[in-house]
């Protein structure tokens, strides 16, 4: 009866298997591959992409999609699956092949030059590559815009978050721009008053002691080491598939907080990956993660709403003593809380605290949007970066592009439109946590955190987010999960409560 649809499910099952191999090949690059393996690996991944591209965009697949769309007997999950299939098909077809090849070629060359430019603190080396990356991205935005009827920057943003409009996103960033910089100043002032009483970390913290701590924390969130791994990598990420989920972290002997919070963050991503439903459709697009915003909300819920809370300091303190020994900073739960909630503006996004982080993203969002929409050019980046850094975080990056506009690798690989998902995900994390507290009670949540028995929280994440996979678009999923659209007020409240009033 639904022959066309069934054949599509088979096609996407095959694509899922190719995706498995691509994920493995990429994970290995970041964790295991010796440096001289990179050219052959690049060629192998490209070959796999070509196979995937041909299968996904073939005329036959196009025809099947049209036939299946007319099929009345599909279930709701199958309809959603078909919608996602069609989106992937269109998205993959949107770009002419020469545009894809040009982008891939530039990305490979560009990331090498970016690394050199950063090491030498020399933006001018990277500038021509950035200029070309922007030109490519503008071209890509035009092609995608023509297919999906979206604006230029929106077309890129939608590659990572297909379920939200840019209007709603922009309103949120305009809002952040107004209230967060002055709030940061108030937080720093109030923190200064309390600072004298905080015992800072003494350290050092040997990596071999941090590894079991990180594994313990991952297990606290239910990470199953029979179906996953934890490895070190330069840039922490979550990779592989639901059947075999792999997270990474990055160790510093100066502070355990970096590796521990990164592990908790990635565990959040992996728990979503493992449990995303509907499970009887595993391998189908409808059982995939909804989007990067939803993904980030799951990792930030664990990292920010749970692991940096006061209640979590109660759970963490004895564990820290057990795994890391008696550092002076572990003298009291209250001191550990202060260490975990310390706010300090810095140059580097990756290690920024929960208050400063959205300002790093705001800066990048504004710059990349202006680049794509033609209001600025690649050569303006260092100047504008410095201006916004001063305005939002009170720091100058003049003469320090290595810790300024050269710090992230995203643009070097032609990835523009990705950054906003970080902040939107953080906001959603807080909003989701508020909904969970409303439903099962603030005390239940706090007890769960205090004791490290996170089951009640994880079950709610499963019910609200994981189970649905791609059944709904992002806006609808957020509304079903929290009773309202993405609402920045929750984030504001949480910032003030935790960082000004010390109530969380």
């Amino acid at each position: 009866m639904c022959e066309a649809y069934n054949e599509l499910e088979e096609t996407f099952q095959r694509l899922y298997r190719f995706h498995h191999l691509a994920q493995l090949a990429t994970w290995d690059v970041q964790t295991m591959m010796p440096p001289k393996g990179s050219n052959a690996r690049g060629a192998a991944i490209a070959e796999l992409k070509a196979v995937t591209h041909d299968l996904l965009t073939s005329e036959h697949t196009k025809k099947l999609l049209a036939v299946a769309a007319a099929e009345a007997k599909l279930t709701a999950a199958e309809r959603a699956n078909l919608r996602e299939m069609k989106y992937r098909h269109l998205s993959e077809r949107a770009l002419p092949k020469d545009c894809v090849t040009r982008k891939a070629k530039l990305s490979a060359e560009s990331s090498v030059t970016w690394a050199k430019a950063r090491a030498e603190n020399n933006f001018s080396l990277f500038a021509p590559y950035l200029k070309q990356a922007v030109a490519n991205a503008r071209e890509e935005a035009r092609y995608r815009g023509a297919v999906f009827g979206t604006g230029l920057y929106e077309s890129l943003f939608n590659m990572y978050e297909s379920g939200m409009t840019l209007d709603s996103v922009d309103a949120i960033f305009q809002d952040i721009k107004v209230w967060l910089p002055p709030t940061l100043k108030r937080i720093l002032a109030s923190q200064k008053e309390r600072a004298a009483s905080m015992i800072p970390l003494h350290g050092p913290f040997p990596v071999e002691k941090q590894v079991p701590l990180c594994r313990y924390m991952a297990e606290t969130w239910g990470f199953d080491f029979e179906g996953g791994r934890l490895d070190p990598s330069a840039h922490p990420f979550t990779g592989m598939t639901p059947e075999d989920t792999r997270i990474t972290t990055n160790y510093s002997t100066a502070t355990y907080t970096k590796a521990m919070f990164m592990t908790i963050h990635e565990t959040g991503h992996s728990r979503y990956n493992v449990n995303r439903g509907p499970t009887d459709k595993r391998g189908q697009p409808v059982a995939d993660a909804r989007s990067l915003v939803i993904h980030e909300s799951q990792s930030r819920l664990g990292e920010v709403a749970v692991a940096r809370s006061a209640a979590f300091a109660e759970y963490a303190t004895p564990a820290l003593r057990r795994f890391l020994g008696d550092d002076p900073a572990f003298a009291s739960v209250e001191n550990v809380r202060q260490v975990h909630q310390h706010v300090e503006p810095g140059y580097i996004r990756l290690t920024a605290d929960g208050v400063c982080y959205p300002l790093h993203i705001l800066l990048r969002y504004e710059i990349e949007r202006d680049l794509i929409e033609g209001r600025m050019e690649a050569e303006d980046v260092p100047r504008v970066w410095n201006e916004k850094m001063q305005q939002y975080l009170g720091l100058s990056t003049e003469g320090k592009d290595n810790v300024g506009c050269l710090q992230d690798m995203h643009w070097s690989t032609g990835t523009l439109g990705y950054f906003p998902t970080y902040t939107l995900g953080s906001m959603l994390a807080v909003q989701l946590m508020a909904a969970i507290k409303r439903e099962i009670g603030e005390n239940t949540v706090n007890d769960a955190i205090r004791t490290g028995q996170l089951k009640p929280i994880l079950e709610k994440q499963k019910e609200k987010i994981w189970d649905h996979g791609c059944r709904y678009l992002t806006d609808e999923l957020i509304r079903k999960a929290t009773g309202e659209p993405l609402n920045p007020q929750y984030f504001k409240d949480y910032i003030e409560r935790r960082y000004l009033r010390g109530e969380d």
Copy 2:
């Protein structure tokens, strides 16, 4: 001009990239994959195999092969390349798809049952699977025999060693059967006389001390850690590609010899992989390794002819003290030599010494050949195993199938015809070493080994074997490298010299 040939080179370049991914997926299974990842991994590898199969066996490829064969302008290397392409094409086409699928399905189920049967020392659990594996292998032998005009067992043997006839191989095994068992008895008697003076290993040897020792030994053979890895795995192997070669070993705290010699063995495989030529044809069949016999000769040359020699004990002793501390057995170079050359019949092939190893292989060769050619059945295996074990090694496996016919996993995965390559490779290793000594002088070779400056030996391996890739068939390659066909006399001489006269 050579359009068809050029298109074939492109096709095989693509196959090489898919092979890269298949290698990575398999390496990961053995080293990194968490247990729950196995089903999804199996499906992904099968999907990749399907793509490879379709590309390799397509009517289009068949036509190109025919057109290119008529092309007069090809170089000698290109002609050899075309020969290897055609062999792969025919070999992949030889089996009907249902036969391949049946074999793959059985292999997956069978290896699980084999592991259980071994753990429970219960052959009857495994018997029905072995029976089916033999039936499948017989069928496969018939199909391949029809394509290549080979005998039943020969058809299977040729999957691993396509350049040798079974007649020549069989003569060698008949010969071993006659002279090696009595020689072993003589060796054990003469060793007994000297045994009282040997200081045995005291240990234990912590793994973290063995790892740098193994890395040091791999580097002695020129292993480049910028283009390769060394990891632990249950069954040591060499994986991945020339661009990124990965070896594994297996540690026991009771003796360093296991991990160290396995590492040296696998380093031999990897050095061949990295250097096999012609290098300007990398990715083409002509630049692949010649065969498993040639492969094994390169690993055994390092492990047996070099690393277990008296000269190598001079190099190893200070290194052992440096990495592992002052074990009583490291008291003298002579004692280390005795430890490395100790002969002791045991049940397990994998850890057998250089004298007993060929007897383990002889036993398997005779059994699997009789199975395939219908002279015995799966249920006879434990009985015949026990008889031959008593005859060749003086050990009974009655009631001990777990260390008898259940010890190896090859047959559980339907791999029959592979075992002989181990012994043939060992023999060739010794013959090659004799040729190298003739050419550059025994003193030069011994000095190289004594000092760990192996360059003169490695250069000869490169010139004689590595550089040629698949340009010649095995018999021709052996003749070019050593001046004669595979000649068991070298192996006999080496056994008597080292193990009876103590001259090596």
